[in-house]
Symmetry: C2
DNA sequence: CCAAAATATGTCATCCAGTGCCACAAGCAA
DNA sequence: TTGCTTGTGGCACTGGATGACATATTTTGG
C-alpha cells in the first residue's frame, strides 16, 4: 500500500470525523459541504472525490460490508433453516454494521434527520436485496423468491427495531439480546 | 368547497398525471421541474406551492392516509391480538395505499429510481411510527414500545414483500392473498 | 354590486448539492 | 530523469428548493 492509498484513507477518516462533529454541533441541514471542507482545508470539489454525496460522509463503509455478509450467508449449508441462517449471520455482523454508523451520536443524527434516514434505508434495501439473493444461492437451498424476500425484509425489521430500542435506552441495553428477542418473536411459521 | 379549492385540486391532479407521463417517457432524473411546468403552463415557483418537492408529485396523498389508518387502529379493541389488528387494518387499506402510488407504472418507476425509493421509505417510516403509537393507544391495550415497534416494522416488511412479488408477477398476482400469506408466515410467537 | 381582506401567481435573486472540464502538481515506475 | 497515472483546485453550469415582493384573482361582508 503506497503513500497514495494511505493518505486517501486518512483524509476520508478525517473528513468523516470532522463532518460528524459539525453536524452534531449545528445540525445536518445547516452545515454545508463548504463548511466541512473549510475546516478540513481542502476544496469543495475534492470532497466529492472522497464521498459521492454529503450524506455518505456518515455511511462510509457500509457498502463494503454488503458483499462480505452475502459471502457469509452463501457459505452456510442450504439445509439450514433460512431464518436461523439470517439470525446467526446478522447477529454476528450487527456490531460492525453498527460501528459503521459511528455509534450513538451518529445513529441519533441519522434517526432524526429525514434525508439521512432515507439514505440509510436506501443502503439497507440494497443490502437486503443482496442478502435475499445470497440466501437462495446457498448450496442445496430451495427457497422461493417471495419467501427469501419476505424473510430478509423481516430480518431488516428486526435489526431496525433493535436499533431503535437501543437508542431509546440511551445505549444501555444489550443489543445482541434485543436482536435475539426480535428474531425469536418473528420466527416464521413455515 | 369554493372555486379556489376546486381549481387547486384540479391543478394538483393535472400536474401529477403530466409528471408521471414525462417521468415514464424520459425517466425521472432527466425530467426537470421546468419541463413539467412548461407542459402544464404555470411557473416553476408555483409548482413548489403545489408539491413540496419534485418527488412528492408521485406520492401526493399518502400523508392523508396515515392519520386515517391510525384512526382505524385506535378504534379496535385493545384485547385483540396486535398482529391480527395490523393484518386486518392494513389488508383493508392496502388498495388505497397502492392507489396512491398510481399502480403499476408509478410503482415501477418508484422501485427503479433511488431518489423515489428513498422518499417512499421516508413516508412509510413516518406512517409506521404513527401506527405503532396507535397500536399502543388502543383502549385496554398493554403493549410495550419495543413490541409495537417490531410488529409495525414487520408489517411493513410484509406489505413491502407483497408489493415486490406483485410487481414481479407483472400485476397478475392477487395482492390480498400475498399479504395474507406474508402476515401468516410472520405471525409472531407471543 | 363593490371595497377590503385573504390568497394565488409570476418574477427575480439566492443558496446549495452535485458534475464536467481543464490546467497543474504530486506520486510512481522505468 | 523521463514519462505515466492519479489527485487537486478552480471555474462554470445544472437543477432543486426557498425567500421577497409586486401583481392579479377570490372571497367575504357590507
Amino acid at each position: 500500500m503506497g503513500l497514495r492509498e494511505r493518505t486517501r484513507r486518512a483524509v476520508r477518516a478525517e473528513l468523516a470525523e470532522l463532518a460528524l462533529g459539525l453536524f452534531v454541533e449545528r445540525g445536518y441541514e445547516r452545515t454545508t459541504v463548504e463548511d466541512i471542507t473549510a475546516a478540513a482545508g481542502l476544496s469543495r470539489r475534492s470532497f466529492f472525490r472522497y464521498f459521492p454525496t454529503k450524506e455518505d460522509v456518515l455511511f462510509g463503509d457500509v457498502d463494503d460490508l454488503a458483499e462480505q455478509i452475502a459471502e457469509d450467508i452463501r457459505a452456510r449449508p442450504g439445509g439450514e433453516d433460512a431464518w436461523a441462517c439470517l439470525h446467526a449471520v446478522l447477529r454476528d455482523w450487527e456490531p460492525r454494521i453498527h460501528a459503521a454508523q459511528r455509534e450513538l451520536t451518529g445513529l441519533r443524527l441519522i434517526e432524526t434527520t429525514p434525508a439521512l434516514r432515507a439514505r440509510l434505508h436506501q443502503k439497507r434495501d440494497e443490502l437486503r436485496g443482496r442478502i435475499a439473493a445470497a440466501l437462495q444461492e446457498r448450496p442445496g437451498a430451495s427457497l422461493d423468491t417471495f419467501t427469501a424476500d419476505l424473510l430478509t425484509a423481516a430480518a431488516g425489521a428486526a435489526l431496525d427495531a433493535g436499533a431503535r430500542a437501543w437508542l431509546r435506552s440511551d445505549g444501555t441495553a444489550d443489543r445482541t439480546e434485543l436482536i435475539d428477542q426480535a428474531f425469536t418473536l418473528l420466527t416464521p411459521r413455515l
